[in-house]
């Protein structure tokens, strides 16, 4: 009965996450916006699990495990970049520019 509202909330959260990625330059904040998008998808899984069975809950479990792995590796990469460049501002990191 809450399926429609939950999908709407999830769509708004996902759009906010995308807007945050486009709006910010700080690598850590962009990373947090990605987490926001993952959570929006989790909300969709949970909402649909009410009608489609418990597989949605299991998938949320997997998404959380992948998010934890991704956060650990991503933050380690940010640390390594900071050590080289002394900044986490993505505008100042342009190694691929010729």
């Amino acid at each position: 009965m809450l399926l429609g509202p939950a999908l709407t909330v999830s769509a708004i959260l996902f759009a906010l996450g995308v807007a945050g990625v486009l709006l910010r330059r700080n690598a850590i904040v962009i990373f947090m916006c990605v987490e926001l998008m993952l959570n929006a998808v989790n909300l969709t899984f949970i909402a649909l699990a009410q009608q489609l069975g418990v597989a949605g809950h299991v998938f949320v479990f997997f998404v959380m495990a992948v998010a934890a792995a991704e956060a650990a590796v991503g933050l380690a990469i940010i640390l390594a970049i900071y050590r080289h460049q002394e900044t986490v501002n993505l505008q100042d990191i342009h190694l691929l520019k010729g």
Partner: protein, 173 residues
Amino acid sequence: MTATVVLFWVFAGIALVSAALCISRRSPLASALWLVVTLFALSAVYVALDAQFIGILQVLVYAGAIMVLFLFVIMLLNLGRGGPSDLKGPAGLAIAALLGGALFVQLRALPGAGPPALIRLPEGTMAALQEQQGMVQTVARPLFSDYLIPFEITSILLLAAVVGAVVLAKRKL
């Protein structure tokens, strides 16, 4: 409206407002703390959607572990003071609002009626299952039977992530 629906809207509102604050605060520390508020509110939303076990996992794993990792890195890089704003100018704001809005419209254009009746479980199936097996067993039973191999692969993924994080973050091996 039942109490569940009221609570759903209250916590969904908190989640949306704090998500908006999370992407608009200048200081990364404030962003991280607003994201924690979002995650807590979302766990309450999960409870309103009959997913109590996942709601507790959300608090333990996301708000408890992942966000502590974020705050730890913010502390390590000394970013808590704010400093110059990292938000893009009016052009960036316009692009972000345009693309975010377009994405929202597209997502809402999906059929709002939910999944087709053919694959939909009868009303109250999940509630009956949870009543019968308990909150944890409802998730654990498929996890260790139908999804056993993905579950084991997840453990390998986590091991690879741990090794990768150590290799990346260490100055000299």
